[in-house]
């Protein structure tokens, strides 16, 4: 399948000699929903900056849908839409003007841009705010405005740098739905986020960057399969005063009526319930703990840090 993005030996050293990227290689397939994860300062934003022509690379190659960034910058830029981490629109301009101006930079005539802007702003629940100055929008609306702006020229590759940071859960979910539909319609999406459950539920493939290097790049399924232990959250019928010391399971108590139980993947759920019944622990309901990716992420980054310091 054609690559939407191919990065080869990408390096970036800033003027203060800080090496933000130490030669990363990355491939994102066309149509993918790809997670790019890393701690703060890992190099994600630098990589995105280079892809989007906001940061000059020191070395390496970036190829977008077969176009080399160095040799064919205009063609590359036509294919990319970026939702940056920071609000970077002119807050004194009306919402509709921000979108229409962005369309203009891509050479889209006003009448065409107006139609597309109306469609996007309606989709993202911003149509009623179209004539208001951007500074009057709430945080969630500003995020959605940046998504609308990034999509005005129908990019084939959409890059979202922490798009749901500081957004309440209701808006976050509606944004997830919107992005999923967009991806299903064929847009390749690269997502960086600190909400790892967001990456886990939406992305098919994942790369983890740590200290300017890609420490993992694989499918989400493959990565999650490496977890040896699954954690369940159980709501109890009766409050538990203390965890039985002799219990064979690893149990953490959240509150008197809620516990988290770790279950080795080789064990069945029947074993879990039999063991709990043995200690007279009655379960009313249960669910998976949704931070599986977080556990792996912490583990991978920790291992890499230990390796590099030893």
């Amino acid at each position: 399948m054609e690559n939407a993005l191919k990065i080869t030996n990408l390096k970036k050293t800033y003027n203060n000699n800080f090496q933000a990227l130490k030669g990363i290689n990355l491939e994102v397939k066309k149509g993918d929903f790809f997670a790019l994860l890393g701690a703060n300062g890992a190099g994600k934003s630098t990589a995105i900056g280079i892809i989007c022509s906001l940061v000059n690379k020191t070395e390496g190659e970036v190829n977008i849908f077969g176009h080399d960034l160095e040799k064919d910058r205009e063609a590359v830029q036509e294919h990319i839409g970026l939702v940056p981490q920071e609000f970077n629109f002119n807050i004194w301009e009306p919402v509709i003007e921000i979108i229409l101006n962005q369309a203009g930079y891509y050479g889209i005539e006003r009448p065409v841009a107006r139609k597309r802007a109306e469609e996007l702003l309606k989709h993202l629940d911003l149509w009623d705010k179209r004539n208001e100055q951007a500074q009057s929008l709430s945080g969630g609306m500003k995020r959605r405005l940046m998504i609308a702006r990034a999509l005005i020229h129908n990019p084939k590759l959409l890059i979202l740098d922490e798009p749901t940071a500081g957004v309440d859960i209701e808006i976050r979910r509606s944004m997830w739905d919107f992005l999923k539909k967009l991806n299903q319609a064929g847009t390749t999406i690269i997502l960086t986020t600190h909400y790892l459950e967001e990456a886990e539920s939406m992305c098919n493939n994942i790369a983890i960057i740590n200290k300017g290097e890609v420490v993992e790049s694989t499918s989400m399924k493959e990565l999650l399969s490496r977890l040896q232990v699954e954690t369940f959250v159980l709501d109890l019928k009766k409050p538990l005063t203390s965890i039985p010391e002799e219990c064979e399971l690893t149990i953490h108590q959240r509150d008197p009526s809620t516990i988290e139980v770790e279950l080795d993947k080789t064990r069945s759920l029947n074993y879990l319930f039999e063991t709990l019944s043995k200690y007279d622990i009655r379960v009313m309901s249960m669910r998976n703990k949704t931070n599986r990716l977080e556990e792996l992420f912490v583990k991978l980054v920790k291992t890499d840090n230990e390796d590099s310091s030893s």
Binding site: Y14, G49, C52, S53, L54, V55, N56, R73, E74, A75, Q77, E78, I80, L82, P84, E86, F87, N88, F89, N90, I91, E97, L100, N101, Q102, A103, G104, Y105, Y106, G107, I108, E109, R149, H153
Partner: protein
């Protein structure tokens, strides 16, 4: 990008820039009109009547071209330096940097915006001057060409200042410590023939002198400098600064890490 798309991108930047200064007309268009009215009243009417004629013209008639030019220079420069620096500081310059709009179009869009404001203010000051003196333009084409080129030159200069600026202080240093002295000493209020030989020669190193005198020649038909020299200097400066501004944009100086 195809030519039609480039034109759309240029129109977008230009319209955005023009709408920006029109939206805040109280800050951008009214103050120069008031300042220049005061110049006309004080230097033209009150003091000027004591000075007598200069190069065969009443003093107020003599300073009108210089004052128009001064307002064009200041406003062209300040428009671009402030709008480009703000775009850089608040990050909305990135909207253009991530798009395929070529650097020439970005440059021309911003320069066009600066010229629009400079020339609009120049027109307002010209209209104000008509309350104080009649104005017959001797060489209309030269007048228009000189004012357009000057406005273009200082728009480019403002953009270069904005590219290098790292704080709001940096965008006021050049206008305050370089532009204002050069303009005031550029023959706006006097003819350099009034100066000693030494100061005449020093004045010839001031590029603003050539612009003011070129414009004065266009309107009044008198000048301390040959119009050819004015045009040549303007053309050389415009080409050189445009080339330099393009180079800075292409390299991403001040706008790309």
């Amino acid at each position: 990008m195809k030519a039609a798309q480039k034109l759309t991108a240029f129109k977008t930047i230009l319209t955005k820039e023009v709408m920006r200064f029109l939206r805040i007309w109280v800050q951008t268009l009214v103050p120069p009109a008031i300042t220049m009215t005061l110049y006309f009243v004080i230097f033209g009417n009150l003091i000027g009547s004591q000075i007598g004629d200069m190069d065969g013209f009443k003093y107020i008639e003599y300073i009108i071209p210089g004052l128009i030019m001064m307002s064009v220079i200041t406003n062209s420069y300040s428009n671009v330096v402030s709008t480009f620096f703000t775009a850089k500081m608040f990050g909305h310059i990135q909207e253009m940097l991530i798009s395929p709009v070529p650097n020439h179009i970005i440059l021309m869009g911003y320069i066009g915006g600066g010229m629009a404001r400079g020339l609009m203010v120049g027109l307002i000051v010209t209209l104000v001057s008509l309350f104080f003196s009649s104005l017959t333009i001797q060489h209309p084409i030269i007048t228009i060409a000189i004012v357009v080129l000057t406005s273009m030159l200082f728009s480019i200069a403002g953009l270069i200042n904005a590219i290098y600026a790292k704080s709001f202080d940096d965008i006021t240093i050049i206008p305050t410590f370089v532009l204002t002295p050069l303009t005031y000493l550029g023959g706006v209020f006097y003819s350099i023939n009034m100066l000693s030989d030494f100061w005449q020669n020093v004045s010839l190193a001031n590029p603003v002198l050539y612009m003011v005198n070129g414009f004065r020649y266009g309107i009044l038909g008198v000048s301390d400098i040959s119009p050819v020299a004015s045009f040549s200097l303007l053309a050389v400066f415009v080409i050189a600064l445009y080339g330099y501004a393009y180079y800075l944009l292409k390299k991403g100086v001040g706008i790309r890490s």
